[in-house]
């Protein structure tokens, strides 16, 4: 570790987060299930293959266009399970609440969790509440853990991408990050940018129905598409080539990024998944995705190659090429 204190960037999902996990957590906790570094662990309990994951949510502000921290907390954990092809079943919910939070707001969050859980077909079966002094938390933080079962014949992991595979995304990138940012920086839109926050287990199920031969699924949340693809490239020891002109980005999102000096490839998503699929089944999977409400705008955005292992290369709109690195630090609004 190079830093003496924890910086915000350690939690941003980028390079410092990875350093923290690899250099501080892994050596101490060290075990096979963890060391795989997928978004969920696969464990066996009495012969049943279970997927298990946990995630904490601290989004500020807790309510934003298209969602709230409760919806996020359910979707995040459901999606982490779904990205292993697992069927999510049960969730826990832990609340850390700042003294003074209006009960109405808590109620709204909880109801939103229930609604999302119903949609995803999961139950929230245990929970915990702690209240901390004013100033010790920002209104409300939520942790959710979840378990699910992995069906027979499904083997999905960040380390299974192979040269020749196609990379598919299920729609427009950057909506969530920009919706939250807009709330924070007082942007308004002629046509609202709404968080894409959604439970994706239904979509994954539809994909698995047409082909169980899916190599990698991963949701590009913090750090965005760029960071997630870098993870996949390094875990699978392959290269990835992206086509800039194929990546779906809304005009307003691109504009907001231009204003803030962000790159949409690094902006967070909460209802997106990246699928790495063998070329021969790519069209079938793509067609199935497009039929699902959360996959209407799906597109093939790149492919896996044997060249430049561990690296993601973007072929730019005007025919140039550049490397797309992991997010370093948090994205800050900039003027130059």
């Amino acid at each position: 570790m190079t830093e003496k204190n924890i910086l915000l960037a350690h939690g941003s999902g980028g390079r410092l987060s990875h350093q923290l996990v690899r250099e501080l957590f892994l050596p101490v906790f060290d075990n096979d299930a963890l060391n795989k570094l997928d978004d969920r662990a696969e464990v066996f309990a009495s012969g049943v293959r279970l997927a298990f994951t946990t995630d904490s949510f601290v989004v500020s502000p807790p309510f934003f266009e298209g969602g709230d921290i409760g919806k996020l907390a359910v979707c995040g954990t459901v999606n982490d399970l779904a990205m292993g092809g697992a069927e999510p079943l049960y969730l826990s919910a832990g609340f850390i609440i700042e003294e003074g939070l209006p009960i109405d707001q808590l109620k709204a969050v909880v109801e939103s969790m229930r609604k999302t859980a119903d949609e995803a077909g999961v139950k929230i079966v245990c929970g915990d509440t702690k209240v901390v002094e004013r100033g010790s938390a920002d209104r409300i933080f939520i942790n959710t853990s979840g378990i699910g079962v992995v069906p027979e014949g499904v083997s999905i992991s960040g380390s299974l991408a192979q040269p020749g595979d196609k990379v598919i995304i299920n729609g427009f990138i950057g909506d969530h990050g920009i919706a939250v940012m807009a709330e924070r920086h007082g942007f308004s839109f002629t046509e609202k940018v709404v968080s894409d926050c959604a439970p994706l287990n239904g979509l994954v199920k539809a994909m698995l129905e047409v082909s169980t031969d899916i190599h990698v699924l991963r949701d590009p949340t913090r750090g965005g598409v760029a960071t997630t693809l870098n993870e996949i490239a390094s875990q699978s020891n392959v290269g990835v080539v992206l086509r800039e002109d194929m990546i779906p980005v809304r005009d307003q999102v691109l504009a907001a990024c231009e204003i803030l000096g962000y790159d949409p490839l690094y902006v967070a998503n909460e209802g997106k998944l990246l699928a790495v699929v063998p070329a021969q089944s790519a069209d079938r999977v793509l067609a199935a995705m497009k039929k699902h409400p959360y996959g209407v705008d799906s597109a093939i955005i790149g492919e896996v190659v044997a060249d430049h292992p561990g690296k993601v290369v973007l072929s730019t709109g005007i025919g140039g090429r550049r490397i797309v690195d992991m997010l370093v630090g948090e994205q800050l609004p900039r003027i130059c």
């Binding site: 803030l260 290369v313 005007i318 140039g320 090429r321 630090g329 900039r334």
Partner: protein
Amino acid sequence: MKFLKEYRDSRLAGEILEKIKKISKKPVKFMEVCGTHTVSIFRHGIREILPDNITLISGPGCPVCVTPNRHIDEAVALCRLPEVILATFGDMMKVPGSKSSLAAEKALGADIRIVYSTMDAVDIAVNNPEKEVVFFGIGFETTSPTIAAAVLRAEREGLKNFSVLGAQKLIPQAIRALLENNEVGINGFILPGHVSALIGIKPYEFIAQDFGIPAVIIGFEPVDILQGILMLVKQVESGTARVEIQYSRGVPPEGNPHAMKVLFTVFEPGDALWRGIGTIPGTGLRIREEYQKYDAVKKFGIEVAESREHPGCRCGEVLRGLITPLQCGLYGKACLPEQPVGPCMVSVEGTCAAYYKYGKRG
């Protein structure tokens, strides 16, 4: 996006490129003065598609990179004062000073706010009358008028708790300083479009007149950049030297005289210390006598110890276009984006950061 997307048209870009390839014969070095150009050039992969005889080198136009440690140290000293809220642009957060950075101070509890506009900083002052709000401003002619406008607003509204720590710089004279010991052999200048939107074309005339070097004021989209390079190539091949405007939609020849008037109401030219280049007379801005009370250094009587620059960092040479980051021994080893040694690795626009981010790993 009107006035943006059409300048990213791949077909148009391709055709301009063909044209460049057809007429460009001489080996040339063009310097992009401005960091935003550097980033755009990397982001769109322009260096790679240009013919081999055209070399683009990056210049001193990243306001973060040319800010010497002393100003960072001053900002750190100010943000440690209990009554101070320090407001600044996101760009400055991670730049290491002699001992600390603003990001590190924030982690230790300093009240530092990232703002997008100087007016946001004034708003913070309005909303926190019991606090002192210091705006740490960097920038060139594009940004400095916005700092002056904020001071004028504070003056209009009679705000007593707003002041400015300024580290702004002026571009044209810096180019002259670079040319006076033209160590690199620059054959043409890619001039910064947005600085020029304010200052116009005149302040650059000396480049062609005194030094016989072509220069073009260029926009930031790929089609702009390629078109601008084509204009430079044409001049070079025909042996002429003029200052031209490619970015005519944003740069009228006279610039924005009103904004310049606002700027020079509050500030006057002074000497400025450029990291790695040294003091260049007339390239800095200091607050005029009448507006002294907005000068944070004077207001709080800040004095910082002699600042130290990292001995191994070669930012200065990178900024002058003398070496590429690849020639710095620390690049990619001790100096990485997550643990930058010098400012050229911190700023998104910094040449070292752009090299690293876009994959030049030597």
